[in-house]
């Protein structure tokens, strides 16, 4: 079910320079939203920042009926979001899209997040708890490590400038995780070059992988076809899929990251 709702902002705080965590009250959406889905948020007046902005569900606070999103201020839409004070309502469409495939039968899974791509993995850490290893990469200052660390069985951090954890790319940490024990699935979200690298490593190790893609959106629900990304169908034929409904999460054999 997809909803359009004016939701109360319960919290909106800067957790890192230019990165905000917003808690949104919506009992209905909170009860149905799944890891990897996104919210399509109106950022300002009807006619100004015209289009809604897609922001992933980061995690749910089921007891508080709230959804948590974590976003970076990029342009006018996210700037607007960052200026909204708790107590104000925002217009949210959601939950949208095909989230991560979750299977409680899995023995062990790995989450690989880079930069803002860490955000949607937080809910997965809650779902898998001890069974998951989270590898989180940042340019410099980490965020969401406390939230994810509290849930995941294992947490490793990489920073490009070495300010915390491994100095270098998060993908440096992945091969070892895949070699040391049997991994049923890798969940990945981050910049394109990182995702390509993850895909390569997973293929080398024969481990399946799911990736969450980004594309600019219009409707957010599959009607306008502006959010296409290059994919392969079941027969391996190339074509376009809609990130908003066929994704944002895709299987390793569906995506064509060079396309």
């Amino acid at each position: 079910m997809k909803l359009v709702d004016k939701c109360l902002i319960v919290e909106n705080s800067e957790i890192q320079e230019n990165i905000f965590r917003m808690k949104i009250l919506s009992p209905q959406m909170c009860s149905i939203a799944r890891a990897g889905q996104f919210l399509h948020i109106k950022c300002g007046g009807n006619k100004h920042a015209l289009l809604r902005r897609p922001i992933s569900l980061s995690y749910r606070l089921a007891g508080e009926d709230t959804l948590v999103i974590v976003y970076r201020v990029e342009g006018q839409g996210t700037q607007f979001l960052s200026e909204q004070k708790p107590g104000v309502k925002i217009d949210v469409m959601g939950p949208l899209g095909r989230g991560f495939a979750v299977d409680q039968e899995y023995g062990r899974v790995v989450l690989v997040g880079g930069g803002m791509g860490v955000a949607p993995l937080a809910e997965l850490a809650r779902v898998y708890g001890n069974k998951c290893t989270a590898l989180l990469g940042y340019r410099s200052e980490p965020f969401l490590t406390r939230e994810i660390g509290a849930e995941a069985g294992k947490l490793l951090v990489a920073t490009e400038d070495g300010s915390e954890g491994h100095r270098g790319f998060v993908t440096d940490l992945l091969p070892r995780e895949l070699s040391e024990q049997t991994i049923d699935l890798v969940y990945c979200c981050g910049p394109r070059p990182m995702m390509k690298r993850v895909l390569d490593i997973c293929r080398t190790h024969g481990v399946r992988c799911q990736l969450s893609l980004e594309e600019r959106m219009g409707c957010g629900i599959g009607a306008c076809l502006v959010c296409s990304c290059a994919t392969r169908d079941k027969n391996g034929n190339p074509g376009y899929s809609r990130v908003c409904v066929d994704g944002p999460v895709f299987w390793d054999d569906e995506v064509m990251l060079d396309g």
């Binding site: 015209l50 594309e215 219009g218 599959g222």
Partner: protein, 308 residues
């Protein structure tokens, strides 16, 4: 409110109200059908169809601009045959009046689609003339009166269903084009399609869209659309469906006053899925409050004499 009449007649089609959804912005009706009962709409125009399936343009296909958006979807669609098989039956079950939007690179393509659709359950066919005419070096059909007249005439003879000709705004004189479509036998006109535009990303120093150019829609284009609808309504004898930037009932009323017999809502759906319904309600309220009993009373009811 009960005794306000919202019915309009477009080329023999009786619409329960004058609010239509615009081609390419409403898919085949399924997506917005998850939000409300789409049979409440006057009609829906389905996404642009071509004779054969089309993949469309490479991404990125969208950019936002001040009060507007640019798209370069490039007519991604499953082709007319699969539309007729896979999409139309379910849509007709919903009880909504369906208008098919057709696109081709040759007049023959258009005619073959018209023939197929003529034998189907669609209520009318909208001929989109913004497509490049390959026989004329890729110039859009819709920019030269002679091509508009010729294309309309041929397609008109290829079927019986009401034929709505959709005009491109990227022209010197929209009235000349509208008259050409009327002369070719159009039963109604639809305007405007998107304005040809571009956007540039100053960080990457590239066009924002992979296709470089795209079509501008949304509130930004409304004044252009309103002018063209007003000019065309003053010149032709066939009904006009007005569109371009309509986002609320006030905008819709402006188009009706300018002379449009119906209005289409496009980009506004993306912002507010309920926009078309809110527009229907708003028109009804406006009529009640201004004391008119039928929407037909306000169509073209604009006074242009001077003085307050």
């Amino acid at each position: 409110m009960d005794n306000v009449n919202l019915e309009v007649d477009i080329a023999g089609l009786k619409l329960k109200n004058p609010v239509i959804t615009a081609s390419g912005t409403f898919g085949f009706g399924k997506e917005y059908g998850e939000f409300y009962d789409i049979s409440r709409l006057g009609a829906i125009v389905v996404k642009g169809l071509t004779l054969n399936p089309r993949l469309g343009n490479p991404p990125p296909r969208v950019a936002e601009t001040p009060a507007g958006m640019i798209n370069s979807v490039g007519l991604q669609n499953p082709g007319v045959d699969r539309f007729l098989e896979d999409e139309l039956p379910g849509l007709l079950d919903k009880g909504v009046c369906v208008i098919a939007n057709i696109n081709g690179n040759t007049i023959e393509d258009y005619c073959r689609m018209m023939e197929k659709l003529d034998r189907s359950g669609v209520s009318a066919v909208e001929l989109n003339l913004s497509c490049p005419n390959v026989k004329e070096g890729g110039m859009a059909f819709g920019v030269e009166p002679e091509m508009v007249c010729a294309a309309t005439r041929e397609v008109r003879t290829a079927g019986e269903k009401p034929l709505i000709v959709k005009l491109s705004p990227n022209v010197k004189d929209i009235v000349e084009i509208a008259l050409a479509a009327q002369e070719g036998g159009a039963d109604a006109l639809s305007l405007i399609n998107t304005l040809l535009v571009m956007d540039i990303d100053i960080k990457t120093r590239r066009p924002t869209l992979a296709n470089i150019f795209g079509g501008l829609s949304g509130p930004a284009v409304k004044p252009v659309a309103l002018r063209m609808v007003y000019q065309v309504c003053g010149a032709v004898g066939i009904p006009v469906i007005g569109m371009g930037g309509i986002s609320d009932w006030r905008d819709a009323v402006q188009f009706l006053l300018a002379g449009a017999r119906a209005v289409a809502v496009g980009t506004a759906n993306f912002v507010n899925p309920y926009a078309p319904l809110e527009i229907i309600d708003g028109i009804e309220r406006y009529l009640t409050e201004t004391g008119f009993s039928s929407v037909n009373d306000i169509i073209g009811n604009i006074s242009v004499t001077s003085g307050q």
